[in-house]
Symmetry: C2
Subunit: 368 residues, 2 copies
Amino acid sequence: MNAQPSALSSANRGRHHRVPLPRPFAFHAGGELAAGELAVETWGELSPARDNAVLVFTGLSTSAHAASTASDPSKGWWEYLIGPGLALDTDRLFIITANSLGSCFGSSGPGDIDPRTGEPYGYGWPELRVEDIARAGQLAAEHFGIDVLYGAIGASLGGMTVLAHAALFPGKARRVASLSGTLVPSAFAIATRALQREIVGTALAGGPVDLKLAFRFARKVGMLSYIGAALLENRFAHAPGQQPTGASGTHFEVESWLEHQAEKFASRFNAWSYWYLSRAMDLFDFSKVLPGASAPVLSIERALVVGVHEDQLFPLAQQAAIADLLKAQGIPTRYVDLSSPYGHDAFLVEDALFSPLVADFFAASPRT
Amino acid sequence: MNAQPSALSSANRGRHHRVPLPRPFAFHAGGELAAGELAVETWGELSPARDNAVLVFTGLSTSAHAASTASDPSKGWWEYLIGPGLALDTDRLFIITANSLGSCFGSSGPGDIDPRTGEPYGYGWPELRVEDIARAGQLAAEHFGIDVLYGAIGASLGGMTVLAHAALFPGKARRVASLSGTLVPSAFAIATRALQREIVGTALAGGPVDLKLAFRFARKVGMLSYIGAALLENRFAHAPGQQPTGASGTHFEVESWLEHQAEKFASRFNAWSYWYLSRAMDLFDFSKVLPGASAPVLSIERALVVGVHEDQLFPLAQQAAIADLLKAQGIPTRYVDLSSPYGHDAFLVEDALFSPLVADFFAASPRT
């Protein structure tokens, strides 16, 4: 609101934008949105030739605020990656991040209030697919007059979306980086996400469970799939926490941590958006992005594919499969497997592991 | 009821017993049971010298019915291991399994009806520890007039209980086998079990969630921690199932499987027993089994410790730690790490992996 731009946000020239969607916006699986919009943030300056833009696709739970901006100097979720001299170098590149279509941080989503009823659209919102999120991102790029992106990058859901974008918009992104992504979700990932949706969805449908309670439970299920077990062990082992004993009958420190994470999340995220975005992830299948065709043939200049050994949710074999597919299409592809106790969440925190890879990949002349 | 004994149950001479506990039975952490009992099954015949008995400790969810008996010819949960000529050879050994104290298959537990109120004891039941389950097992052995057990074996919770038994009753078991067990639970195991207890416990405490629904949710969380992700992938991948779309918004085959497992479990298991047994697992710490002492020094002749590489809930490092502790005490210990897509549940199904190890360990003259 009245926050003063920090030195950093001034330096990276971060700005917030509201980008209207076409009226109507037609969804991949049918249905349309009469008047939608996207919350978008950008950093750096678009070059006169409009050839230096990198589109960032986000994970399930994050906003467009990937780095600090003039209007919001708080740290972004990829603060370590985006800024002057950083891997996504805002002295050289124009970085664009949209809050995913269907999310709840300024972009249109199923949690929006339907003015006709005064209630959230909920099930009345169109079925969301990863393909829709990819197209919304492309529209954000077009909003800035960009014909061809210098690059696109995403992790987790974003690592899937960036592949959908490459398939749907041939030649529209020159360099594509998919981190901790997959061509198709694993049975385990589907099982854990479907359980989260079942818990939240039962409450959303008016079933016998309180919505806030259900949302907290579901987020805890999710957290246990994101984080590496070794990290929990190193941090908490079996130490008792300071909180009183709750419904679990115990008060271990790891329970406090999980409760804090779940409470924070359930307070700021919309349950409908969670349900819609989670379902979109489970229904994604790269081989079926283009209707009636076999696996899409991509038109990109080079690719970076990164996975994390400790990731239970998007196991390494899935990133290897992405790299194999790209290489089989003759695309110069660098495949890197990292080790991090953060597991699936590594991309959010492991500056020292991810920054050199991303910096090199988007350098004018990559070394590798 | 009127079932005919099968050829197998006759051959293994399986029998059901009701074993009264001392009146009162005092619990490890305080409190007592005025009049408790254990449901016990045995197979084979006790030798005249009473020196051929093997005590089996069970996992969280299983009954005393480890193998078929005359009164219950249905297959037991360790049918492949117990019988004539099998690894626990009922032609030679007398096998004893008690339904864990606190469980709900004939042994006293918190789900029992308090005659004074007509309601389950619930929170009014004494706090249960793994040490109590170990002592109840020892009492079952004593019920048959056994001074020293030829051996004791257990997996999962049983793999912890067997260690507690060895610590609490020095010299009372000659050979001890701990499969997929641990000296102390991991932070991840605590986190996932505490979440299950929070979900069930919220309902048990009258919170805003239906008990049957909560129990199904909790069991699904548990199942996702037991099973190996690779097994789910091989079985289900992302195939759609036949069931209609539910609260998850999808109908993948892996969801049908999980729902079937959870529905079956929630129908036959008692929620109070689940909560009590799960808490006992999280509160276990081998180094504190003997009050005021440092880690117990065991008096056993030989040990077998087995772990499974794919086990996320009781990771291999935990079994290695058991073996290291035993070896440091000068106990001849065989440590084996197996690989199985069944993960933590491997001991229930992997006949070909476990049978040779257990057979050799309990042979008159083990080869290894």
